[in-house]
Amino acid sequence: MRMTDDEANYLYNELSQIVRQADMGWVLTGVSKELRLGKLEAKKVLTADAEGAEEGAPPSPLKRPPAMFTATTAYPPKDRLRILVGAIEQAWVATTQMDEHIAHVFANEFQRSGNQPVTSFAFRSEDDTHENVSDEAVRARRIEAAAKLKPLITELREAINAA
């Protein structure tokens, strides 16, 4: 059954709420920016009509080819939902895969150079006020969340695209 615009809007709002509850509001900030910008569309415009033609004057006998302009239009509900689903996938699934890849490279490289394999790495600000560690426990939680999420994202995309 085809998803209606109302259903797409409902899912968009519910999913946004779930993302907010997960304290991942930054994901929604990126989505909002994209939605505010709107969808870029190429549009043909007859410039002869707009330039110099007085109101009520007969159309010019000289036909000019239409010029291409760029317009922005609001995303339709299903596209809005697609963008949100893509953002969730990037924030939860893509970052997990990156984290796994980084851990794999560090483990290999440290071992190759004769050192103990490294299983964690950290980001720390110069003033020591912020530190974010990626270790095996964090990675395991990310992997678990991504594994649960992947089939749900597939299910949602199939529902959005169903004819």
Binding site: Q21, A91, A94, M98, H101, R124, L152, E155
Partner: protein, 222 residues
């Protein structure tokens, strides 16, 4: 196709929280992304026959592995950030850094999310507390992780950046796609990679091959 009635409940259960996942801000995701591209650089060097080890600013073995949360100077001693030392047979060594400033032709400094710098230059800069010159930066990448879309000013600032630190072997790498950015960068002959994420093997292989080309050309010029 209809969604199951428990779909939203399942989504809620799957997401976890930012605190559990340590992804509380866009910067956390950006840092992870830059580190991922740092690792691709290391892999590219490996494929070019390099050996790699990790050091901190003092030249000691890097333990723990520590990276910046925002751009900084290559000589910062505290915290002792980690960089990779890349040794190519018969060539002067290189260093791969995350989030350092480099100086451009104009003398202004610019942020490079990932930078491959000649080791002699890096050592000189640490000693004298100056920023590496862009002419000694073999490869650099500006990385942008965005949950959705990309602002056009990203391309404009990259064009500005690369007019000062040279355009050759400088990449704008993003996890999402933007056709206007692609068009703008291509028309200005700048290098880019979009949708460069682990799940997109074609793009990742292409990007890693471009990094390899940068290293290969460094070798050829010596």
């Amino acid at each position: 196709m209809q969604l199951r009635t428990t779909f939203l409940h399942d989504m809620q259960g799957a997401l976890g929280t930012a605190a559990q996942l340590r992804l509380g801000s866009a910067e956390d995701a950006c840092n992870l992304y830059a580190t991922y591209l740092f690792c691709l650089t290391i892999e590219a060097a490996r494929r070019e026959g390099a050996t790699v080890h990790f050091e901190n600013v003092e030249g000691s073995a890097a333990s723990p592995v520590l990276f910046r949360t925002s751009p900084g100077s290559i000589w910062t001693k505290k915290p002792a950030y980690t960089h990779a030392v890349i040794e190519l047979p018969g060539l002067p060594a290189l260093e791969a850094h995350l989030g350092i400033y480099v100086s451009g032709k104009s003398g202004e400094i610019h942020e490079c999310d990932v930078a491959l710098v000649e080791q002699a230059e890096a050592a000189l800069c640490r000693k004298h507390e100056v920023h590496p010159r862009s002419s000694k930066v073999v490869m650099a990448a500006r990385c942008k992780f965005s949950s959705a879309g990309l602002p056009l000013n990203l391309a404009r600032s990259f064009i500005g950046l690369t007019s000062d630190i040279a355009a050759e072997h400088r990449f704008l790498v993003t996890n999402t796609a933007s056709a206007p950015i692609r068009r703008l960068l291509t028309s200005h002959k700048r290098l880019w990679s979009q949708e460069a994420v682990p799940g997109n093997a074609v793009e990742i292989n292409r990007l890693r091959a471009q990094f390899e080309t940068s290293i290969m050309q460094y070798r050829a010029k010596r």
